[in-house]
Symmetry: C2
């Protein structure tokens, strides 16, 4: 986690800008007369350039690149490199969940080949699905790690993650606690994805993981507010990175004008709101 934590502290920002590029929502000028993957790539690169002063890191949602075929994956790799050149560590939001040598193959793909620092991982198959990603991150020694899905921000999450005793989110949190190691950074290399839309669950997960770094989606577009963020803060008032995608990427739809300026303004505003609320890493 060192790469993320250092960037967040250097920038004084707890904001992770998410790239969820939906081709139909790109600015009309970018959509005209070109291949979708080219338009997506230019859009994403321009947004990164616009938000780089305000963002601690970037989270790339793999689904939107996978659906563009092999050329989409090429664009993903190029964006990871460009983000790194701008000093933005990359979280591959892949939510992969497979085991042993198969998980190792995914880890190799995202952390080694494409070059992301961190990757999101699904806990349903247990420790076998998480450990190979941590092992690859440790071998690479680039200050990366994993974020395990614990309490997600989507509407049907609770019906699965909180419907048993102990809740599945608690089992996932235990995996994070058991597998993470502190390496060159004051946070363990296994963190947790905890949405800001379910403060009750978030508070409980924080009790289980007092020292872990949280990656928290759901702020803004998914309806989560600053009170949901406060529920996730650790004892020292930190330990949370807020991931925001659509509210920044598509800020031009509401604000009008140039999409880059709209994204920059949205990112700066969000960074400032998080600062004011005392959210930090």
């Amino acid at each position: 986690m060192r790469a993320l934590v250092e960037a967040a502290r250097r920038k004084g920002s707890a904001l992770v800008v998410g790239l969820d590029p939906v081709p139909d929502r790109l600015p009309p000028g970018l959509r005209a007369e070109r291949e979708k993957h080219e338009a997506v790539r230019e859009f994403c690169r321009s947004v990164l350039e616009a938000v780089v002063p305000y963002a601690a890191a970037v989270k790339i949602q793999l689904a939107h690149f996978e659906r563009l075929g092999p050329e989409g994956m090429r664009a993903y790799g190029e964006l990871v490199r460009e983000a790194a050149d701008m000093g933005l560590p990359v979280i591959a939001d892949a939510k992969r969940g497979d085991i042993a040598e198969t998980a190792a193959a995914y880890a190799e793909a995202h952390l080694r080949l494409y070059g992301a620092h961190c990757v999101t991982v699904n806990p349903y198959m247990g420790a076998d699905a998480v450990l190979p990603f941590l092992e690859e991150a440790r071998r690479l020694g680039r200050g990366g790690g994993v974020f395990v899905l614990v309490a997600t921000s989507n509407p049907s999450a609770g019906a699965f993650q909180e419907a048993s005793e102990p809740p599945a989110s608690e089992l996932a949190a235990r995996l994070v606690a058991d597998l993470g190691e502190v390496r060159g950074c004051d946070y363990p290399d296994a963190g947790a994805v905890v949405g800001v839309t379910r403060p009750e669950a978030g508070r409980r997960v924080r009790e289980l993981l007092p020292r872990a770094l949280f990656l928290a989606p759901g702020f803004g577009a998914q309806g989560g507010g600053i009170s949901g963020v406060r529920a996730l803060l650790g004892g020292s008032g930190g330990g949370v990175l807020i991931a925001s995608s659509r509210a920044i990427l598509y800020a031009f739809e509401e604000r009008g004008g140039d999409y880059r300026e709209a994204a920059a303004e949205a990112a700066r505003g969000m960074r400032d709101r998080l600062r004011t609320a005392g959210v930090k890493v």
Copy 2:
């Protein structure tokens, strides 16, 4: 599920051949002097040609293509088309687990763009993560569907999937029951991944899902035997497809000789064992 079920009945086979191509394990002749993705593609295509008389369908493990970069994804797409030309429906073993429009993007990628019939899906994020795949399969109308991870065959599975009350595997099974619909086939379009290595869990999942089609890994290489398979059979003695990868792909390592002949022999032997045991669809 119609595509899978029809193929299994036409062939009289409950065997799904899994493609998990590990570059370092390819036959030496294929490894020499060429790009990894080309070697993997030729290996997989040749194995498919060899096993086509004995296999109901093919399961492609995405991790091993993703780790080969954009060209690996191109090879995956080509293999899906080639399998379809051979009359083999394809299960994309992607285990994707994301929500709403993101899940829809993954569904578009695997079912529409790359052309697989079915896809494996992770239930941790609840119904939001499963339904978009079913909706895409239904729109396409090609007799496809999803297999939801329920009780997997890996060593750490039980520590997550059976460690609560009700167990997470039961919550996953309920998703399968709630979301699947019967469409042009006597099985619902949502099936379950249930390993043959945990007969206790398998028997319980079968009670919860008396009518569902199971995709069962873990036979052979992962230590599961025919008794583990029997625990999964439905009331009429059917409803199970057995997925076998390494025991077929790498049969040449033990048997020697041509890898295609070794794969064909292993696949025929496995089909026959399953027939003798009364495993069918």
